[in-house]
Amino acid sequence: MKLTRRDFAAGIVAGIAAPHIISSARAQGATLKIGMCAPVTGPAAESGGYAVKGAKLALEAVNKAGGILGKQGELIVEDDQTTNPGIVLAFSKLAANAEIVGFLGSIRSTQVHAMAPDVIKLGKPVMIGGTDPNLTHMGNKWLFRFRPNDSYSGRVIAEYGVSTLGKKKWAVLHSTDAFGTAGGKALTAALEKLGAPPVLDQGYANQSQDFTPVVLAIKQSGADILGSYFTFENDLGIFARQLRQLGVNIPWVGSPSIVNITALKLAGPALYNTYGVADYAEDSSEGSKAFGKLYRDAVKVAPDNQSSWTYDAITVLSAAINKAGSTDPDKIRDAILAIKKFPGAEGEYNFDQNGDGLHGYNIVKNDKGNITFDKHIEFND
């Protein structure tokens, strides 16, 4: 037999390619893949890092406990650049990988809105942390939420202020962006329901350099309690300082940003003795405590909701796939929606038919800079 140049070349190519093809074939299906869109770059890169760490910690625990459907779980992270176009691109890259059986989306509602049409087209389950109530109420059956939505935060702030603190003359302060306006409306509606309509409903524009007019309006309104929805920590910091400087010391119950680490650093003592709603509070349950210890040991920083929701998302998704006994998207969906009384880091998961897993918030107190758990308020409707 005569060896031609063509045969020789074909042999060389086959020789080089064969090991790769074999290892690739072996690798395919060796792990069960979960895709994650996370802000690796951009303004939220720091919190994005925490989110990825939370997800990886959960997957390590799942793999140690036997994995998913007998395989080791593998996390594939794509950078969403903290932008809407970025997350659309990141999700489309992940979606192109047919081996990925489930996804983690964003903690930012606007980004989830941006990727939502592609989620419907793909038809696979996506875990999210965005808190806009509409996300799970707009006919997208593939979105599953791992944080309580904003309709609960307003009710919890109102319930705590009226029933626990016994205050009825409310000043409601909120940003005029989508988040702040929705939050302010939810709080006002909840207060009206409790028979304590606000004496002042005050919006402000983001990135205000001065809050003197706002503080003076609160002072003049005669309010005996303040409820707030701040979007940016620097606004919150400036307002908190000016509020105290101008002698307003009424109780203050705020949205989650009031207990954010950055806000605590900026405002310092001006936020002492304030209250906040928080989806993650370390002492709120055994699950929260266990996650807190695991996270502190591994990452060496205090845990917060950036990492706790991704931890829960991976844990719940893995449990649902195992329960479904299949990677069929419809079967996974049914298994997630069937989850009840599941103890997570964020709280106890009881999924409703919309895909919302949590239905209440924790109230925490700023005790001289330390965030302490006060109580959990749950709603069953």
């Binding site: 007019p213 400087q245 101008l246």
Partner: protein
């Protein structure tokens, strides 16, 4: 009356910050006939330099302050040589675009080093403020107002009474004639950039303890300072000061008595009114008169 006085103090305080940044706009415009859109970033860079020296390294506050200003002087030199000088013979448009590019570069460079989280910078004083009857006077705002008054006096003395100031004025009025009289135009422009960078930096250092140190702090202030410059009259030092103070007071009173969410809107409504009815600003000359 108590409310009025409190708002007046705050309005003047915040207006003084706009005035300091506006001064930097005016000086560079007079010397080069272009608007430096990186003026706000000068404030931001100085504030981060101060955080580095005073907070990260723990050096004494006064030393950190002087080092941050020295850093700004150096940035003024680099800015002049890197952004303005290569384009000095081109029309104003490439230079303006170059300043916008420089502002993006400065903001992203600081973002890459410090990340997006705002930083805290302590103020000059232990006491946050004093209660004077019904009015609370924030000590940092008192300092800002005091420094602005001193700078007005200094600018008057420097530009009207010193040879260097007169050379700078001559350069800004007519470069060719100044050159014929033996004045080194490029040196004068270099000095203008250094002074403007230091002024912008000074504004940043003074306002940082109140507004915190963040990547956006410069652009937020610069936008208002730019409006103040137009209201005062582009190219006029007194106009920049008056425009800045007026803007601070108008937006504070507008927010208190009309609408808080539209606070920024009041500032820009005044700007639009000036552009329509008196485009040369309060102290500016008409172009025809100048010619």
């Amino acid at each position: 009356m108590d409310l009025f006085l409190q708002l007046l103090f705050t309005g003047i305080g915040i207006g003084a910050v706009y005035a300091l940044v506006a001064l930097g706009f005016v000086l560079i415009f007079r010397a080069t006939n272009v608007v430096n859109f990186a003026q706000g970033e000068f404030s931001m860079v100085a504030a981060y330099l101060m955080v580095y020296f005073a907070v990260d390294l723990g050096w004494p506050y006064w030393l950190s302050f002087l080092l941050a200003l020295a850093g700004m002087a150096l940035l003024g030199v680099i800015f002049n040589l890197g952004v303005y000088y290569p384009l000095r013979h081109r029309s104003y448009l490439p230079v303006i675009i170059a300043t916008i590019g420089a502002s993006i570069l400065l903001a992203n460079s600081v973002l890459a080093i410090y990340g997006p989280q705002p930083q805290v910078l302590p103020g000059w004083f232990e006491t946050p403020g004093i209660q004077l009857g019904p009015v609370y006077l924030d000590s940092q705002y008192l300092l800002i107002i005091g420094v602005t008054i001193l700078l007005v006096i200094f600018n008057f003395w420097f530009f009207e009474k010193t040879l260097l100031g007169k050379k700078l004025q001559a350069t800004s009025q007519d470069k060719e004639m100044a050159s014929l009289l033996g004045i080194s135009v490029s040196t004068m422009i270099m000095i203008t950039f250094i002074y403007s960078a230091v002024l912008g930096g000074l504004a940043g250092l003074l306002v940082a303890p109140v507004l915190f140190v963040s990547i956006q702090m410069g652009s937020t202030i610069a936008l208002k300072a730019f409006a103040a410059t137009i209201i005062g009259g582009f190219g006029d030092v007194t106009g920049a000061i008056i425009g800045g103070l007026a803007l601070g007071v108008i937006e504070t009173f507008g927010a208190a008595y009309i609408s808080v969410p539209y606070k920024d809107g009041f500032a820009f409504l005044v700007l639009i009114a000036f552009l329509i009815f008196r485009p040369q600003g309060i102290f500016g000359e008409r172009v025809a008169e100048k010619a």
